[in-house]
C-alpha cells in the first residue's frame, strides 16, 4: 500500500515535471548519437530544422529566419527541456509554428504517406537531443 502510494507519487512528479517544462527520460531508454543527430538536423527532408532555424552549420548555405539560432541550445536548455521542445513544442507554446516531432494525434488531413507516423522516430529524437546538447556557447 505504502509502496503503491510512493509509486503513484513518483509517477505524478514525473507527470508534472513533463507537463511543466521537460521530458527528463529518454524515449528509448538509451542515449542518442550526436553525429547522427547532426545529420538529421541539417537534412531538409528529415529534420527540416533549417527551414526555420539557423545554426552553427557553415556548410549549409540556406537556413531559415523564422526561429531562434540553435547555437548555444545545449547551454540554454537541459536535456529534458530540449526533448520536450522537439517532441511537442505546442505543450509550451500552443501557438507555435514548430511541428510536434513525436506526436500523431490531433492532426488534420495528414497525407497518406505520413499518416499515423511521427515526423521523427523515438531513436531520431534521442539523436537530435544528444546533438543539441553538444551546442554549447
Amino acid at each position: 500500500m505504502r509502496l503503491a502510494a510512493a509509486v503513484v507519487a513518483a509517477w505524478l512528479t514525473v507527470g508534472v515535471a513533463q507537463a511543466a517544462d521537460s521530458i527528463p527520460q529518454s524515449l528509448t531508454g538509451a542515449k542518442g548519437d550526436p553525429a547522427r543527430g547532426r545529420t538529421i538536423v541539417t537534412n531538409r527532408h528529415v529534420g527540416l530544422c533549417l527551414l526555420c532555424h539557423s545554426g552553427p552549420f557553415p556548410e549549409e548555405r540556406f537556413q531559415g529566419t523564422l526561429a531562434p539560432d540553435l547555437k548555444g541550445a545545449g547551454t540554454r536548455w537541459s536535456e529534458g527541456q530540449l526533448r520536450l521542445r522537439i517532441v511537442d513544442s505546442s505543450r509550451i507554446n500552443p501557438a507555435t509554428i514548430m511541428p510536434a516531432y513525436h506526436r500523431t494525434e490531433g492532426l488534420v488531413r495528414v497525407a497518406p504517406a505520413w499518416r499515423g507516423k511521427p515526423v521523427l522516430t523515438a531513436e531520431q529524437i534521442e539523436d537530435v537531443v544528444a546533438f543539441l546538447m553538444t551546442l554549447k556557447d
Binding site: 531538409r44 509554428i97 488534420v108 515526423v119
Partner: protein
C-alpha cells in the same frame, strides 16, 4: 519593466494566435519578393516564357472545335475587349452550378456546353494556354471579387481552409503567409500568397502551371493531403485568396521562382 514584458508577451501571443489580416498598405505581390533578374524576366514579354503559352492560347481562341464548329472568337470576338478584366474577377458565381467556378472551369463549361467538345484536363497544355490567353487580357487591371449572400459561404469555407492547421507539420497557410511573410524559409522568401499572376511560369517547374498546382505544392509541403484538381475546396480557397488580394494589380502571366 517586467510588467511591460508580460504585456508585450501577451500581445505577441494574441497576434500569433489570431493571425491578423495583412493591412492593405502592407500587401505585396510575390513579384516584390523576387530577384531583379526574375522580375526582369516577367516584365519583358520576349523573355517571359509564359508568353509562349499566351501566344498558343491566341491560336486556340480562333480555332473551330467540336460538333458546333465554333471557335471561342465566333462568340466572344476580340478577346482584348471581351475578356478584359474577366480573369481578375474569377472565381465567380455560376448560377447553373450554384457555386463559384474558377477560370479553368468557366472555359471548360464553354467547351462542353457551347462547343460540344470534351473538357480539357487541368494542367493540359491547351487549358493552360487558353487560360493564360484570357488571363493576359486582365493584366494591369485590379482584382475585383464580388461577394454577396450567394458567394459568402464559399468565401468563408476558403478562409477556414487557409486558417486551419493541417498535415503532419500541423501548420496553417496563414501562419506562414500572414505572419511570416518576408522571412526566409531555408533561403526562400515567404510571400503573402496573393494569386495576382496565374497561370504562372514557375522556374522550379520549368513550366507554366495553374493556381491550383501552386496551392497543391503548398499542401504537399505541409505533408497534408492535397485536394484533387477542381475540388470545390480548392476553388473556395482560390476565391478567398483572390478576395484577400482585392484591389491588387493583376499581372498574368507572372514568373515565380
Amino acid at each position: 519593466m517586467r510588467r511591460l514584458c508580460v504585456a508585450l508577451g501577451a500581445i505577441a501571443l494574441a497576434v500569433s494566435a489570431f493571425a491578423a489580416e495583412i493591412p492593405p498598405s502592407d500587401r505585396r505581390s510575390g513579384y516584390d519578393f523576387m530577384s531583379r533578374e526574375t522580375r526582369a524576366m516577367q516584365d519583358d514579354d520576349t523573355a517571359n516564357p509564359g508568353m509562349l503559352s499566351v501566344l498558343e492560347g491566341g491560336t486556340l481562341w480562333t480555332r473551330k472545335a467540336g460538333g458546333a464548329g465554333k471557335a471561342c472568337a465566333d462568340c466572344h470576338g476580340d478577346a482584348r475587349t471581351s475578356m478584359k478584366g474577366v480573369a481578375a474577377r474569377h472565381p465567380s458565381f455560376d448560377a447553373a452550378r450554384g457555386r463559384p467556378v474558377n477560370l479553368e472551369q468557366r472555359i471548360n463549361a464553354c467547351r462542353v456546353d457551347r462547343q460540344g467538345t470534351p473538357p480539357l484536363a487541368y494542367e493540359s497544355r491547351e487549358l493552360l494556354a487558353l487560360s493564360a490567353y484570357v488571363a493576359r487580357q486582365s493584366r494591369g487591371r485590379p482584382i475585383e471579387i464580388a461577394v454577396d449572400a450567394r458567394t459568402q459561404p464559399f468565401l468563408d469555407a476558403g478562409r477556414a481552409t487557409f486558417h486551419r492547421r493541417q498535415g503532419q507539420l500541423n501548420l496553417s497557410c496563414s501562419q506562414c503567409h500572414d505572419d511570416q511573410w518576408g522571412r526566409s524559409l531555408a533561403g526562400n522568401t515567404i510571400p503573402q500568397a496573393h494569386p495576382t499572376g496565374y497561370p504562372i511560369y514557375r522556374l522550379e517547374w520549368q513550366a507554366v502551371g495553374s493556381l491550383q498546382r501552386r496551392l497543391r505544392n503548398c499542401f504537399v509541403g505541409l505533408r497534408a493531403e492535397a485536394y484533387e484538381y477542381g475540388a470545390p475546396e480548392l476553388v473556395d480557397l482560390e476565391l478567398f485568396l483572390m478576395w484577400r488580394a482585392r484591389g491588387m494589380t493583376f499581372e498574368a502571366p507572372a514568373v515565380r521562382p
